[in-house]
Symmetry: C4
Subunit: 211 residues, 4 copies
Amino acid sequence: MKVSGDGGHDDRARQLLCEMLRLFYANNWLSGTGGGICGFDAEHRLLVAPTGVHKETLRPGDFFVIDPASGDVLQPADEERLRPSECAGVFCTVIGSRDAGAVMHSHALDAVLAADLGDEWLTVRGFEMLKGIPGVISSDEHRVPIVENTPREAELVHGVEQALADVRFSETHAVLVRDHGAYIWGKDIWETKKHAEVYHWLFEAVRVRRS
Amino acid sequence: MKVSGDGGHDDRARQLLCEMLRLFYANNWLSGTGGGICGFDAEHRLLVAPTGVHKETLRPGDFFVIDPASGDVLQPADEERLRPSECAGVFCTVIGSRDAGAVMHSHALDAVLAADLGDEWLTVRGFEMLKGIPGVISSDEHRVPIVENTPREAELVHGVEQALADVRFSETHAVLVRDHGAYIWGKDIWETKKHAEVYHWLFEAVRVRRS
Amino acid sequence: MKVSGDGGHDDRARQLLCEMLRLFYANNWLSGTGGGICGFDAEHRLLVAPTGVHKETLRPGDFFVIDPASGDVLQPADEERLRPSECAGVFCTVIGSRDAGAVMHSHALDAVLAADLGDEWLTVRGFEMLKGIPGVISSDEHRVPIVENTPREAELVHGVEQALADVRFSETHAVLVRDHGAYIWGKDIWETKKHAEVYHWLFEAVRVRRS
Amino acid sequence: MKVSGDGGHDDRARQLLCEMLRLFYANNWLSGTGGGICGFDAEHRLLVAPTGVHKETLRPGDFFVIDPASGDVLQPADEERLRPSECAGVFCTVIGSRDAGAVMHSHALDAVLAADLGDEWLTVRGFEMLKGIPGVISSDEHRVPIVENTPREAELVHGVEQALADVRFSETHAVLVRDHGAYIWGKDIWETKKHAEVYHWLFEAVRVRRS
């Protein structure tokens, strides 16, 4: 139900992003104002959630429009007090390297614990759920890169860039960040939701099966 | 509240199947567009959910009508882009062998972990919850067959057929699929919901008690 | 909102019992149509839920009025197909011995696993949560009796009677049933909800702390 | 939507506190009528929840107005049967020592189990989530003081005062109470919600990672 005449604030992509944030929050992936999301609207403008706010309370006007190439803010959120997510740099990196149409950032405990199981990457094998990742079949040995955490979120960009350029991780649609969480993406918002469910299921499965 | 004049799209069975999919999704049994459901409507037509979609978002017009004997599609879903569930073959096999009125397919992690505990079958004993399965009493040693996973869902039919023909598993209302999940059925949609709750409870119980 | 002129079907106690069943179901205490509840209405008539139905779907007219002294059905449920809960015998025993105003029966996995930790009783100590039980302080060693399971629910009455007559268990407001679940009660429906939350918290706490 | 002319019963702070109690209850932090909350309204009057009631059912008129300096009741709840939370003493202590604008008291099992891991304090290190606490960075070694439980809640004041005066705990926004739970605060109700999510995430994380 598009009612805006002021730059698309109430368009379906913004509402869908709000719905996804409520869903992810209910899954304990966005506790304590952490995590975030970005995705393109119908006019192919990149919408990025603000930082430091309770993500399940976001409204369509709370998103920033960002240039994915430069990271510049093209249109601010309606409220002046809001600042764009500190994940914006990693979001733009993923979009640039993988042609993603949406990216979510999770602070799920299962993502942190899964990263504890690997050094440079987490190996996932032996689950039908792997089929939920494009190009992966259930007998594959799937590698999810693990990037070391940095003091500031923006500094993660370098590690994420390296991981995405690494041919060993060509199939992955997620990057784990040690002690921190994960970035997960897809070709659009709905596929990103699907991949978020698939990877969080796998993160828990790998840990519980090994313990 | 039947309002359709176009083949029963809004009839109660279709709405009930949608409700069950939302419930099963909330239980983490259908993560990442996985899993599925089928059941008969009032005219005894077999309704099967589509594949590859977010199951909690399904609407009454999204189901296929399938011939349970041949597996042929008798009536497609309203939207052309939808394809019938890849579970359809197993669904038809269960209906043919066990006279089931509905079957659900779960991707629950507890089903996968329960299958880790057995070779050809999972033994469940010592739980009052066993009474929830027709013909089983709480002192029984109940066997749930475990079928090995296959690259494609349709290829599971052979293993499921063999399990259902095996007299050792005559009481079961579920088949576990290794690394994958479970198929669970009942005489109608509501009994299938009951059995899904009973078996998922038992899958968790068996694992936690042994650990 | 009392609208009935037919014996109080829509009175507040019946609606409250339905609300509690939905809440308990959401807690996974009533999976697979298991478990149950009873409580007195404003006219001090004992309302008992039916057996074998999905408890979260109950409506005010689905309860039986039972004589707590004899166990006789004074007024059936509206629908003829319904039968009173098989817990009715235990419910009446608890009401007779402990002057309870409501009793709930749980099939929670945590209740089953807590009973695994004891022989004749489960000892709970060292939790502030114990204060939630009348007459118990947080430094008490609280004993919850464990009754052995029986093939039929009605046969549990003898074991429950013995446990309730045992002075070692004079403070308890719950009886565990091995491999099966628990009965928990209070002076009215709301206190029974409180005690159900307290005991289920303790059942989980005792198990997790010991493991 | 402020509709009251009788002392602000329906003002936004009271409604927000009710909303937080429902959220915290859904997280299993307030089981069995336990736990509580306090916060300032727009006129800087301290609102404190009542004791011994099902916290998720509270309405705006159910709060007490308390003088945070003396602990005296300035305005009772609407219903005479209500008594102010026994946490009021600790709430006032936290407000006095830390200039908090809201405090919540949790009975979460994860808080109890986290306190099991320490003697005078719980050490939390190696989690990005630590950034959710003001003044703390992810490489910090964060200390959460552990206070021994007392027979009566009011007697906790002394231990909490000592912990808050201890320079080793100058960064903490939470106090653990052994066998009991935690007090968590922030500069206002929303920051208290944020910190509650951050600390409960960390309490679970510390325990699961060590086990």
